[in-house]
Assembly symmetry: C2
C-alpha cells in the first residue's frame, strides 16, 4: 500500500472533458502503427475468418466462369421450338463438370444444374415441363416433347454474378463466411490479411481476487479479465492474461515489463480514477501516459499513452465501464484502422419503458451508454440502471444504447441508437 | 460416372413439399440425441465462449457481495450532517479490498470506489463536493467540510445487482463475454457446457475442384466448403473438411465411412436434386435417408436421415442454397436443442428498392430467403437477385430477408423480417 497522493490531473473545472469522438480519435492515433506492410501475412482461407483484406481484390475470373444451367432439364435452341411446343431428339446428357458437344438443330440435350450450356443452345427447359417429365435411362434417339421457351431462360450467363476484373472485395473488408466463400469461388486458397493484434490484459486492485478461490471479506472476484478476454477474442484479438496486479505500482511495472514486452497493446482495468490508491496512474508516472476524463457514462476515467513504448490503454475498474471502454474506443479504433473486427452496425430502436422508469434520464454533459435488450418488434428495453457495477444486468443485454451528449430525457417510444453486441 | 437414374422421390404433384417449419422440426428431431448428460463437460471459463449452460445457475453469492462505495469520497453517517453542511473529523482511509472500522459519530472516512462501506456509515459524499476537494496526504485529525446528503447516496447495496439464490442464468444460455464475466463475478473458474458438435463436411460434384489449382474448362472452384466451414466455425461447431467427392457413389460412401466415423453430424452439399447424376442420393440408397423438397427458395431440395447411424443432412449444391440451408435448419436446430449458437435475432426492416426492381416478387407457394444489406436507417436493400449462385452478392450482404409463403409481392417501404448474419 503506497501513501496517498493527490490526483490532480483531472481536478478543477479548467479542464474540459474529452468527447467520446475525441478520445476515439486519440486511441485510433495511438494504434495507427498497426497499419503496416510488415504486419501483413498470407494465410490459408480458413485461418482468415474474422480478419480483414490488406488489399482490394479484383475478380480474377468471371462468376460463373461459363454459361450454365440453372435447372435440371433440356438444353435447347429456343428457335427450334414453335409456340405450341415440339418434339426434339434427345442427345447425350451433359453432366455438370463436362465439356459438352455443340447442340445440333432439332435436338435437346439433357443437362444438369450447373452444367455448361452447349454451344448453340440458348435456353433450358426444366425437366418438369418435358414429356416425359423424367430423364430416360437409355434415351437411344428417343424424342422429348418440349414447350416453347424464351432465349436465356434458366441460363446463368457467364459473369452474371461478377465479371473478371471488377472489384470483388474492397481493402479492409472483414472476412466472414460469405467473403471467404467468394475468394474460394475465385480459386484463392490463401489471402493476405493483417496479423492478429495481441493484447496484454491486466486487472488491478487489492480488492480483486481470482475466481475459484474462497472470497475474503471486502474482496470481489475479478470479472473484468474474463469479460474483456472474451470480448477481445470475439473481436479477433489474441489475448494474453497477466492475472491480477496488486495496488503496488512497482509490482505492476514489473508485471508489464515481463509479460508485455512483445504485445501490440497493453490494457489495464482499474486504478485510473481520482482515488487515493490509483495503481495504474502511479505505475505510469514516468511514462508518456495521460489520465483524463471522457464525457461518457460509464467509462469516464481513461488512461492513454505508451508504456516502455508499447501502446497503453487504462480502462476504469468496473466491469460495465471496461466493456463500454472496449466497445467505444479500442474495438472501433481497430475496425477503422484494420477493417477487423467488423464495425458494430448502429440500429434504431424505440424505447420500451413498460414496468420501468417513466423516463430514461441522462446527464446532458455526457454521452451515456445504457445496456438493453433489443426485441424482435424493434423496441429496446433497459436492462438495469446506469450504474457500472451491474454485471447481471449486462448479462441480460444484447445491445448498448447510445444516448448522445445534450440529451437529458427520453420517453417511451422515443427512438434511440443501439449497437448489437 | 454412373448410369442415369430416374429420381422419382420428389416427382409428381402428389407429394406436398414440406414447409420450412416442418423441415426444421425434422432436423431438430434428428439431432435431439445431442442433448445428453454424457455430452456435458466442465471447462474453464475462457473455453466456454460461445457454448451454452447445461443447467440453470443460481447466484451463489450476492452481487455486490457487500455494500460498497460508488465514488471516491467520504463515507458518512447522513444524520451527522445538517442541511447547511458541517465539518467532520477525517478518519483513516478505506481503500478498496480492506475491512474498515465502524464509523464513529462526527467523523468521515475517505473511501475509494468499490471499497466496503464501514458499519454505521450510510452514504458517500463524492470528493468533488468536499472542502478541500482532494484527499489529504496526511490528514492527521484534520476536518473536512461536507454538504448534507440523503441516506444511501452513492452506496451500492449488497445484492443490488443480484441476490444470492436468485436465478442468474437460465439453462441453455449461450455464454458470451457478459455471461462469462458474470460467472467469474460469482467466483466460478469453470462451467458445465455441452461438448462441441462435430461436423464432417463434404462437397460433392465432378464439376467442383479445390481452390489453388488451375481451373479446367467446365469446372468451378469449390466455395461451399469454405463458406460452410466458416459459418459453422462461427456457430461454434467443430468442422472436419473431407474435401470434394466425385460423382461416384461408392467413393462417397468410402469417404464418409473413413472420415465420418466419430462425428456428430455429416453434411454434404450437392447431389440431392432430381438430376441424372445425384451422387448423394445414390450413395444413400441403402441408408434410412429421405430426399424431399422444402417449400423454400433457394434450398428446396434436401436430404435427411442417418448414414451408418450418424445423423446426415444433404444440402443442395449452390453456395447460397447451402448457406441458407445451414441458417434455416441446422443452426436453429442446434440453437433450440443446445442453446448454442445463440439464435439469430429476427428484426423488422423497411424494404428499400431504390435503383432496383419496382417490386420484390416471391413465389407464393414457397418461403423465399433473399440476401440484403441492412442500413443504419432501418431500411434493407436487396443484394443480387433470387438466384442461388450469386456468391458475390452474398458477400455484400449482412442479412437474410425472410419472405413467408403466401407473399408474392412487396413494395418499397414494406416491412420485412431480416436475420442479421
Amino acid at each position: 500500500m503506497t501513501s496517498q497522493t493527490h490526483s490532480d490531473q483531472t481536478h478543477g473545472a479548467a479542464k474540459r472533458p474529452r468527447s467520446v469522438a475525441e478520445h476515439l480519435a486519440a486511441v485510433t492515433d495511438l494504434l495507427a502503427r498497426l497499419v503496416s506492410e510488415s504486419r501483413a501475412e498470407v494465410v490459408p482461407l480458413p485461418d482468415a475468418l474474422g480478419r480483414a483484406l490488406v488489399h482490394g481484390f479484383l475478380a480474377p475470373l468471371s462468376l460463373p466462369p461459363f454459361a450454365n444451367s440453372q435447372m435440371d432439364g433440356y438444353a435447347v435452341r429456343s428457335a427450334d421450338i414453335p409456340d405450341g411446343g415440339t418434339d426434339l431428339s434427345i442427345m447425350p446428357p451433359v453432366p455438370a463438370g463436362s465439356r459438352p458437344q455443340p447442340l445440333q438443330p432439332g435436338t435437346a440435350a439433357p443437362i444438369m444444374t450447373g452444367a455448361m450450356i452447349p454451344a448453340n443452345a440458348d435456353a433450358v427447359v426444366p425437366i418438369e415441363k418435358a414429356v416425359p417429365d423424367h430423364f430416360l435411362t437409355h434415351p437411344g434417339g428417343a424424342a422429348v416433347t418440349l414447350p416453347a421457351t424464351a432465349p436465356g431462360t434458366f441460363v446463368r450467363a457467364a459473369g452474371s454474378d461478377i465479371a473478371a476484373g471488377e472489384q470483388a472485395l474492397a481493402a479492409g473488408t472483414c472476412l466472414g463466411p460469405a467473403q471467404l466463400g467468394l475468394l474460394a469461388a475465385f480459386g484463392m486458397a490463401e489471402v493476405e490479411v493483417y496479423r492478429e493484434v495481441s493484447v496484454l490484459l491486466v486487472t488491478t486492485g487489492d480488492e480483486v481476487v481470482e475466481p475459484g478461490v474462497p472470497l475474503p471479506e471486502g474482496k470481489i472476484y475479478d470479472s473484468n479479465g474474463t469479460l474483456l478476454e472474451a470480448a477481445m477474442k470475439q473481436a479477433g484479438l489474441c489475448v494474453r492474461r497477466a492475472g491480477i496486479s496488486t495496488d503496488n505500482p512497482g509490482a505492476l511495472q514489473s508485471l508489464l515489463r515481463t509479460a508485455g514486452r512483445d504485445v501490440d497493446v497493453i490494457v489495464t482495468t482499474g486504478g485510473v480514477s481520482k482515488g487515493a490508491y490509483e495503481v495504474v496512474r502511479q505505475a505510469m508516472a514516468d511514462q508518456p501516459v495521460e489520465f483524463l476524463h471522457v464525457a461518457m457514462q460509464p467509462g469516464g476515467p481513461q488512461g492513454i499513452g505508451t508504456f516502455d513504448g508499447v501502446p497503453f490503454l487504462g480502462f476504469p475498474g468496473n466491469p460495465v465501464s471496461c466493456l463500454v471502454s472496449f466497445e467505444m474506443f479500442l474495438r472501433p479504433a481497430l475496425s477503422a484502422l484494420l477493417g477487423a473486427p467488423a464495425p458494430r452496425l448502429p440500429l434504431r430502436a424505440r424505447l420500451d419503458l413498460k414496468g420501468q422508469a417513466r423516463q430514461l434520464t441522462s446527464p446532458g454533459h455526457k454521452h451515456q451508454v445504457r445496456r438493453g435488450s433489443l426485441q424482435p418488434d424493434g423496441t429496446v428495453r433497459l436492462e438495469g440502471g446506469e450504474s457500472s457495477h451491474l454485471m447481471h444486468a449486462l448479462a441480460a443485454s444484447n445491445v448498448l444504447i447510445q444516448i448522445p451528449e445534450g440529451v437529458t430525457e427520453l420517453d417511451a417510444g422515443d427512438e434511440v441508437e443501439v449497437w448489437m453486441l
